[in-house]
Symmetry: C2
Subunit: 345 residues, 2 copies
Amino acid sequence: MKLTILFGGASFEHEISIVSAITIKEKLSEFDLTFIFCDQNHIFYLVEASKMRAKTFSSFEYKKFPQLSISNGCFIEKKLFGANEHRGMILNLIHGADGEDGTIASLLDFFGIKYIGPRADASVFSFDKRYTKMLCSARGVKCLDFEELNSKEHKNIKLAYPIIVKPSRLGSSIGVSVVNDESELDYALDVAFEFDKSVLVEPFIKGVKEYNLAGFSADGKCYFSIVEEPQKGEFLDFEKKYMDFSRSSQVLKADISKELEQKLKTNFEKIYKNLFEGALIRCDFFVIDGEVYLNEINPIPGSMANYLFEDFKSSIKLLASSISDARRIKVNYDYIHSISKAKGK
Amino acid sequence: MKLTILFGGASFEHEISIVSAITIKEKLSEFDLTFIFCDQNHIFYLVEASKMRAKTFSSFEYKKFPQLSISNGCFIEKKLFGANEHRGMILNLIHGADGEDGTIASLLDFFGIKYIGPRADASVFSFDKRYTKMLCSARGVKCLDFEELNSKEHKNIKLAYPIIVKPSRLGSSIGVSVVNDESELDYALDVAFEFDKSVLVEPFIKGVKEYNLAGFSADGKCYFSIVEEPQKGEFLDFEKKYMDFSRSSQVLKADISKELEQKLKTNFEKIYKNLFEGALIRCDFFVIDGEVYLNEINPIPGSMANYLFEDFKSSIKLLASSISDARRIKVNYDYIHSISKAKGK
């Protein structure tokens, strides 16, 4: 199967997107893969598969590769005479800004290029944690209480300590701190406001049970990964997550009851349905007193959560086959014609 | 002031975007205006100002104009030798799909082009009426009850007749019907499902008071238009709205109490703040028993609701001056460097 991996982006998660792409190359080695890198200046490069290693990017060696521009239906590589067109299904593997905020989705949609990944509306709901809370509330999925802060000065937090402080719009634990009492709050807010002008505060529940579940839909049916109980320190910090994005060996199923597994799947479907079609997403849940709470949605999980799928290759194939051609609205000029007629000109 | 009007789009509202652009040309005649047309195939054309009339588009004469491609920081017109770069602030005047669903916003953001118009997240919340309801609920703004239908078969509607049936994702009254009793339901659903696979049903309140209020924010402050009580038949149908988009003469203030005017403004601000910055939007409200309900958000109102502003030109200037430069996240390769070091390679 032909597939183009689009990675990089102007994002705090730029580097982990590179790591993800390298991991995917290994996991989908039997596919006919093309690699398109979006650098921090939003210039696209066609990267040779044999050069898919971290150093190619950190050393800026990628700049030697051909530049691509995006156009209707394809990416174009200009040649001295003529041009090569790169067509075919894209896998959007840009984590964080650009990839997960709906920008790349809109770009590909605008140019009529088919892709695996969240559409723009799904991205908006998963990228900003405030909107994820709205989605939960509208769809009957529990999530933790929260308060929003819009400035460091505003500190009359009603939640009891310990609390967790996070920028509204970043993934991969960037800017996130656990705050045990008020003395630690200032620093945590300084860190969080470095990354966003909106910061959320949630209760921090020490030792809470966490379960991750990935999945996608095809032919109107949900296909699920195994449920994983992620290993954790106090919480996953960026460096640990970075390593996480290069995971490629299958993990063990969490030791949970059939009933809990079903509850997690039901909550996953409530979030996914009529919104995330076209994407393979990972939902991270908390379980508190037997109740399932959504923690976050990863609409482009690190290395596509390959390690959670028993047959990752077939999953990607099935998902790709479910994505229909972009349909553009056809315009006619009926109203202008009828009005011109009425005006007699 | 230099300003580029971007209009057209692959949208059911393509024609009214043309009408809007022609009206804006007249209203902002003292500006240094450039016109970029996005046709239904998503090809951009640089249209001569003197050719800004409906027939240029309905006759496909626009195809004679130079094509533009979008690139970092500008639209580019290729010449036999070299190229012309068209830089400067865009006014996104594409109504409906493309313009109001966040696609064009993301495109311009990706390429770092400044624009007047809703950002992608604001677009998602205003374009899909289901998400507008979520926003209202999260921000303490009243809106009408509703039920969502996902297929024509599903007809156990609990709301009492008369009801109004509308596609979730279209503006300009397209596909909208008032249904007085069950015998009229089938046809109304057929019409609505022509345009969307999700359809909303709301109570229809005959003779309800309607008020429109436009506004924008600059320097952290909201600037409001006058409040209009729109004239209406049973409800605005597409043809009437079409004419509405070419409105250019200032309307009369609605005859309402200071108290109601303030209530409308307060509700407008609740919707606008921390979401619609950069856009001039029009909120259409109902007033029922003295209570204000949001009916819909027009994030790119027809001809920018120029007829509601006492000084439209200054309003556009003020809004444009409030839009800050796009800032792209700077990438460093610290993690890759540190990991390469740790690995000793």
